[in-house]
């Protein structure tokens, strides 16, 4: 049984609960729900996490921004072509310190997702990110990125305007950006489109977020010419936070409430806030040259060879 099936059962139980007036039955349902959530939550497969990471109710970048940075001011545009709503950038105060935010923003509703292109950025989104990152460097502000995208947008215009060049430029520029960069993977981290905003001094990943070379569907379709084998692909792709921590790609995992971030968002925010704050405080003490060298080594050492 997948987590999704448990979720359906739980939803049915909760519906039953709302219909009854019997206190005893309500209590019994609560206990059953709790038991099921515990069981399902403790036995999550990679495919379950893919499901949770993409869940429509899962908090999106804007939810994190609202909670962590209440005075956020959004800044728009790449100053060449346009403003890409799939990447949100701006300034805010974080523990009395000015910070720069660069976030891949999926929507929660269909209307919002149409505006945000389902979180799939065009080249102008990546170019906006570079512009805002350089601004942060100039004014010595730490940068916090939020990663949540299935990938860069594979559109006609995206190719014509240089999707490949825009992503490459992100990897190139962020590698020596002279300011602290913290990356937080909150949902889905897919392909080069996610990597473009994952070059930093510390990579934090939420427990149920995923990060991979490609979506499991895309992976299955390329390797086995069969998109329906996505579940099988996900189990082999090493895309969970635990896999990535083992591989040395992710530095810290933030534990999520049972069932996913949406079940106790306040609590998650508290822990994430502390983690980001501690990371910045620690990294701000490091000399700039050392910071840049360490960032280089962080990516340099991935994969072992002789």
């Amino acid at each position: 049984m997948d987590y999704k099936d448990y979720e359906n059962l739980i939803n049915k139980l909760l519906e039953q609960k709302s219909k009854t007036n019997d206190e005893k039955e309500k209590e019994a349902i609560d206990n059953e729900v709790k038991r099921m959530m515990m069981f399902a939550g403790e036995n999550l497969t990679a495919w379950d996490r893919v499901y949770i990471a993409r869940h429509k109710d899962r908090p999106k970048a804007y939810d994190y921004i609202k909670k962590l940075f209440p005075d956020f001011i959004e800044l728009h545009g790449d100053r060449y072509f346009g403003d890409d709503n799939a990447i949100v950038t701006g300034l805010a105060t974080f523990h009395d310190m000015p910070v720069t935010i660069i976030a891949q923003a999926k929507g929660k509703t269909t209307e919002e997702n149409i505006i945000r292109n389902f979180g799939m950025a065009n080249p102008e989104g990546y170019r906006k990110a570079i512009r805002i990152a350089k601004q942060a460097e100039k004014f010595n502000r730490p940068i916090i990125t939020f990663v949540d995208t299935s990938g860069a947008y594979p559109g006609k215009g995206a190719e014509e305007r240089g999707q490949a060049e825009a992503i490459a430029e992100c990897l190139f520029e962020f590698s020596t950006l002279k300011t602290v960069v913290i990356c937080v993977v909150i949902g889905e981290g897919g392909s080069g489109g996610a990597l473009a905003l994952s070059i930093g001094d510390k990579i934090i990943m939420l427990e149920n977020a995923i990060y991979s070379i490609l979506s499991p569907e895309g992976f299955a379709s390329i390797l086995w010419k069969d998109e329906t084998r996505a579940k099988e692909a996900s189990e082999r792709m090493k895309l969970t936070s635990f896999d990535l921590k083992n591989l040395g790609i992710v530095d810290e995992i933030i534990k999520e409430p049972l069932g996913g971030a949406q079940y106790d968002f306040e609590d998650l925010i508290k822990r994430l806030d502390r983690s980001i704050y501690n990371s910045i405080s620690e990294l701000e003490k490091v000399r700039m040259n050392t910071l840049i060298n360490r960032r280089y080594e962080k990516y340099r050492k991935i994969g072992a060879y002789e």
Partner: protein, 287 residues
């Protein structure tokens, strides 16, 4: 003592032998064969293909060539030597069928991986030259390709040399998953260091250069040269067609299209490649 000396000599001899035998053996076409141009179907003898650098004498179609042939065309005779030729992964590949695929690719191409990296002279000018080989698992970039490219860039940075990378790749190597993806970051960061030292990086984009390689080092050259009609892009054509629900024109994502869109500095035909690269090196004060 004598024994040690002999041992070392044997080692050097075998090394030199392995170094030499790579060059001037055009493997692509056996002597007794004619090969039709895949574009205009004109029948051309092996000798002519070689003399014309694997460009069709009738329609100008540029055949895909191997990494060693590419190096032969760019570098002066007997000047090229590989660096870190033997880099192999120490990771166990647990992806089913991958080791077999690697084995087949190695045996059919005679290469250890999808890229050949080394130092050579181009009309006397010393440069680091890397060439990818699309015959080796579609030139896909896994950990070893990323490592070899990064080592070459670092070599160029520490010795203040220009670097030229000829790309030919379908993108990241799926079988190595996230490790492949991270090679995009690793190679790009190495190029940033090279660039910050004021050194020259030239990309030669050849058919095909897509996915993770296009979205990292292929697009980061100070000068980006492309061969005629090479496929250059991030997303695959079929994926784009499915996304936008329209049929794309045949010239979409080809060199000429990318030049028009502003992402390529110049398109150079194979026969002019070496002289153009030489001129560009001289213009950057490289000796």
């Amino acid at each position: 003592m004598q024994d040690l000396f002999n041992k070392r000599k044997a080692k050097i001899d075998s090394f030199n032998k392995s170094r030499k035998k790579k060059e001037f053996v055009p493997k692509e076409i056996p002597e007794y064969m004619f090969r039709n141009c895949p574009h205009c179907n004109f029948s051309i003898s092996y000798r002519e293909w070689i003399d014309e650098l694997y460009v069709c004498s009738r329609c100008g179609y540029h055949l895909r060539i191997s990494a060693n042939e590419r190096i032969r065309q760019i570098c002066d005779r007997d000047t090229y030597y590989e660096i870190d030729a033997k880099v192999t992964t120490v990771n166990e590949h647990d992806f089913e069928g991958y080791d077999e695929k690697l084995d087949i690719a190695q045996r059919s191409t005679g290469l250890s991986e999808a890229v050949v990296c080394g130092v050579g002279r181009i009309n006397g000018i010393k440069a680091v030259v890397c060439a990818m080989d699309s015959n080796f698992m579609m030139g896909s970039m896994g950990g070893v390709v990323g490592e070899k490219i990064t080592k070459s860039i670092e070599y160029a940075t520490s010795r203040r040399l220009p670097i030229i990378i000829a790309t030919a790749s379908g993108g990241a190597r799926m079988q190595e998953g996230i490790i492949s993806l991270m090679q995009m970051a690793k190679t790009s960061a190495a190029l940033k260091r090279h660039s910050d030292k004021g050194l020259l990086y030239m990309t030669l984009i050849t058919d095909p250069t897509t996915g993770g390689v296009s979205a990292s080092y292929a697009m980061l050259g100070d000068i980006i040269i492309a061969e005629p009609n090479a496929l250059i892009g991030f997303a695959g054509k079929r994926v784009i067609e499915k996304t936008v629900n329209e049929t794309l024109p045949p010239q979409f994502q080809r060199s000429e299209f990318m030049l028009e869109k502003g992402f390529i500095d110049l398109i150079v035909e194979r026969r002019d490649l070496k002289s153009t690269i030489t001129k560009l090196l001289i213009l950057h004060g490289v000796k």
